[in-house]
Amino acid sequence: MIGAPLFKLSGLTKLYGARVGCRHASLEVRAGEVLAVVGESGSGKSTLLSCASGQMLPTSGGVLHGATSPDGRTVWRDIYQDLSEPERRKLLRSEWAYVHQDARDGLRMSVSAGGNIGERMMAAGARRYGAIRREAEAWLARVEIPTDRLDDRPTAFSGGMRQRLQIARALATGPKLVFMDEPTGGLDVSVQARLLDLVRRLVAEYDLAVIIVTHDLAVARLLAHRMVVMKQGRIVESGLTDQILDDPLHPYSQLLVSSILQT
């Protein structure tokens, strides 16, 4: 179900000295909508994700968080200009979540699976050990990890399991918007397929909005409602996923699509 708009970039620009990270990027995401940002490495998609997810201050332009007011209107607030650092960090660990390409960046490797999933709940004020544990157990089951691994540390997990655990940790506090950075990168093809399947199921089940950065058009095709294509720091084309994959307009998109389809 696509709902109210909850995230917007307007004219986002990030410069590294004289070099362009990304320039004049604008996009909008609604509740329950999956947006893929595709492009080859160096296209600016990682810069865009870092700025969008509250980790890097853009040079100019807005990163806007939309909240629905009691009378049903959407109130936009720039996460860097209008939110204080505590407010921004709170947003990042409540309504938003982030899934890293490398699960080690998103997990505490020396803390048990249960502790990893429970951390965000405890940070949000959960103080019943039993309830936290049951909830963590339920999340393990949802991401298809045997629940008897609850007290094991992620160091003892396979790559695919670690990534699923990271997703459970990110989703445990019920975020509305999840940023994903190449979540299937570095995984075997069979493991990738299973993970994508899981993500697709969770997105539908929890009505998540997702901004997923990937160089893999197959990932975009499987998950995304809409996509944007980036080249040299700019968004060169955006539209419905099927539309772009079937009938790319921009020459670069055509190149990208044809090169993927040939391989």
Partner: protein
């Protein structure tokens, strides 16, 4: 002196015996700097206030923070008590008490109720404290998050933003592994519903005494250059889970010497067969209980 006149303590004349040094060793400018830090600490309960700790004539880690705080608080009319492990006659307590006898020539006492300033390492006296007393703690590592996050730059940010989730992760991991919160001393507390604070390595048995105490509690960490405080009648809640509540523990038997119950006991091994007995850790309280019993007979 009491908390009220902390800021206005006048410079007393130097002691005769140690005329080379100022009253209570530190010069007045240094004391003023420490008092400013103390006032800030009292104003923000549980917040670790940086202060320019001086090199003291005893090693870092041996009470330099507590000694500096005591030095900044002492006046000539004070009566000082120094304890280590609850006892007045442990070697380091003796050494620190002698230091102030030499440099400040204040009255010293071993009786808790007679003391106006009590410097302590690792214990809170059993005798309830009053509004006219200051309890000065020696603190080795002031940062309760230190063993979860080694970086000072990071932990200061966590305090500023009240991001204490990690602290509960530690408690969660303890219960998951051991069935209990496996922290027996230096058990973290949240002060005034804001800052999470390390109460120094007192046994968790003493934690309930921290909260709503009538006395001013000051904490000095010399090597780490931090001062913090729990003002009188301030709440200090030991962190826990609702379904695994904080348990102060303690040995369930009376002191073998004075018969007191509900006090912290040291285990003493009396022979090479492992025979042991339990006696009061607070030596003053033990003596008082015995004297009271004798007087009653």
């Amino acid at each position: 002196m009491s908390a009220q006149d902390l800021s206005s303590a006048a410079a007393p004349a130097p002691a005769e015996e140690e005329a080379d040094y100022n009253f209570a060793y530190l010069d007045e400018n240094t004391k003023r700097m420490i008092r400013r830090a103390l006032l800030k600490a009292v104003a923000i309960p549980g917040y670790q206030t940086p202060f320019a700790s001086r090199e003291m004539p005893m090693p870092y880690g041996w009470g330099t923070g507590g000694v500096q705080v005591t030095s900044a608080c002492l006046t000539e009319s004070d009566s000082l008590k120094v304890i280590d492990q609850g006892a007045d006659d442990t070697t380091n307590a003796v050494s620190i008490r002698k230091f102030f006898e030499r440099t400040a020539r204040v009255a010293t006492t071993t009786r808790t109720e007679e003391a106006t300033i009590i410097q302590t390492r690792h214990r809170i006296p059993e005798t309830p404290l009053t509004e006219n007393q200051i309890l000065v703690y020696q603190v080795p590592i002031p940062e309760p998050l230190r063993f979860l996050e080694p970086r000072e730059t990071e932990t200061r940010k966590m305090h500023a933003l009240e991001e204490y989730g990690l602290m509960h992760v530690k408690l969660y991991e303890d219960i998951a592994r051991h069935g209990h919160i496996a922290t027996a001393y230096a058990y973290p507390v949240q002060v005034g519903r804001r800052y999470v604070m390390d109460p120094s390595p007192i046994p968790k048995f003493d934690n309930p005494k921290l909260s709503n105490c009538p006395a001013l509690q000051l904490f000095g960490a010399g090597r780490e250059q931090r001062i913090y405080a729990v003002p009188p009648y301030t709440e200090a809640i030991s962190l826990d889970f609702e379904d695994h509540p904080f348990d102060p523990g303690g040995v369930d038997q009376p002191c073998a010497l004075c018969g007191a119950t509900g006090v912290y006991l040291d285990e003493v091994i009396t022979d090479d067969q492992g025979t042991r007995m339990y006696v009061c850790s607070d030596t003053d309280h033990c003596e008082k209980t015995r004297a009271d019993a004798e007087a009653a007979q």
